[in-house]
Symmetry: C7
């Protein structure tokens, strides 16, 4: 199955076990929002600008590793794999290793 | 009976039993929003752009399989069949099999 | 008495007993929003576009049968008959039989 | 005392006892919003369009009978008479008898 | 002390005891919003229009008697006198006696 | 330490004990919002207009005494002194003595 | 690991123990919002202006010390270090020592 996101949405495969420090200690959850990382599997064409009607491409490419807000996005199970559909605005930063 | 959606609305026939994995295990509901799939039966002409007044056609066609947010949409029973009227913005992605 | 709706409002006479299936079974109410049908009795001139100041006519005509959101609209009793004043944006689809 | 409403506001004298049917039966209140009728006593010059800066006159004249949303408006007592100051957008329809 | 309101704000000296009828009866408070009257002591230069950047002067002058929404405004005590700083949009009507 | 506010923010040193009348009586707090006064220590360059992209300078200067809404602003302690960072829109009026 | 913030987001390393006065006394928390300081580690390219489509660079540079609202931002742990991803609009002021 193949997902083609609409507008400024992207499909992300969440990375696992990011909630520990470099030394391997597990960070307990606090009331603060914590982002998560994942790999971008598909990117929509972009959203139409309200003023000009022009489509604005996202600054995100397939294969990018992104940090996103944990409260954004919609979970979807594709071929037994748990993926996320996010809005482009839920992506906070790209990770360059 | 025939439904002609207005503006950027679409009529969708929800697919059944999507909430299990490829291996057939049922996924228990969590607090997270889960999308659903369906087939597009009718598509509105599109919404008028606020800035230019031009009608913007949807990037969705009759016959498309779409993933949509479970909290969007309005249920309607047509000829004994349960359908959904969605806004175009509630559609997250198209599925290409 | 004659009602002339302003802007993009319409006057609708709600149809009765739409909440049953083709085979006649009554559908119990769930927490989900269910639309209703009705016949359009009067249509306003349309809303003024914010950007251009131009009046945008509604894509709805007197005599149309429309499906509308149950939570929209204002009830009004005219000559002993219960009618609804809706915003054009509360109309989801037109029904062509 | 003379009231000059600003912008798109109007002054309305509410009609009395509209909440009964043609045959004279009193309709009990339900949870649904019910509009009321009144006569227009004064009309503001209209609101300035955000895009063009032009003042848009209201489609309501002094002497009109209007149906308005019960939850809109501000009560004011002028010379012992209870009047309402409404926004133009709270007026749903004009009544032509 | 002299107050120079910014943007579309005005300074108002509230009139006293407006909550009685012409015949002198005190009107008990209801849940409905009731306006109050006052005299305008100072008027700001007006707000900048979002589209054109032009400053739009208020249609209110020093010395005007205005009716305003009771829930708007900020109380301030100047030289032992209780005044109100209102936004221009909280003014419903001017009173011409 | 020197604070350079961004956009339309300003830094204010709150005046003390403004909540009494000219005759020296302390005014008890009511449920109504009461403004406070302070002296402007720093002013940001202004906000960018959404329509034109032009930066709009604030109508407030360093040294001005301003009345501001008590619920706006962010407290900050600089060199042992309690200051406030306000948005320009939280300033209601300038005080000219 | 290297973070490239998108749009108008920035990455900040929070400064420690700012909640005491110049004389070293710890300030107890009140219900009021208190800002925090930090050093800017990375700055996004800026947000696209809605009206013109042009990208507006932030007035913040890598190395700046900024005061930001405590309620804004998303915590992220990078290489065992707790950082914050903020929106540019959550930054209140720059600190020049």
């Amino acid at each position: 199955m193949n997902l083609h996101p609409l507008e400024d949405r992207i499909v992300v495969r969440p990375a696992e076990s990011e909630e520990r420090t470099a030394s391997g200690l597990v960070i307990p959850d606090t009331a603060k929002e914590k982002p998560q990382q994942g790999q971008v599997l598909a990117v929509g064409p972009g959203k139409r600008a309200e003023s000009t009607g022009e489509i604005i491409a996202l600054d995100i490419k397939v294969g990018d590793t992104v940090v996103y807000s944990k409260y954004g996005g919609t979970e979807i199970t594709v071929d037994g794999e748990d993926l996320l559909i996010l809005n482009g605005r839920d992506v906070l930063a790209k990770v360059v290793k």
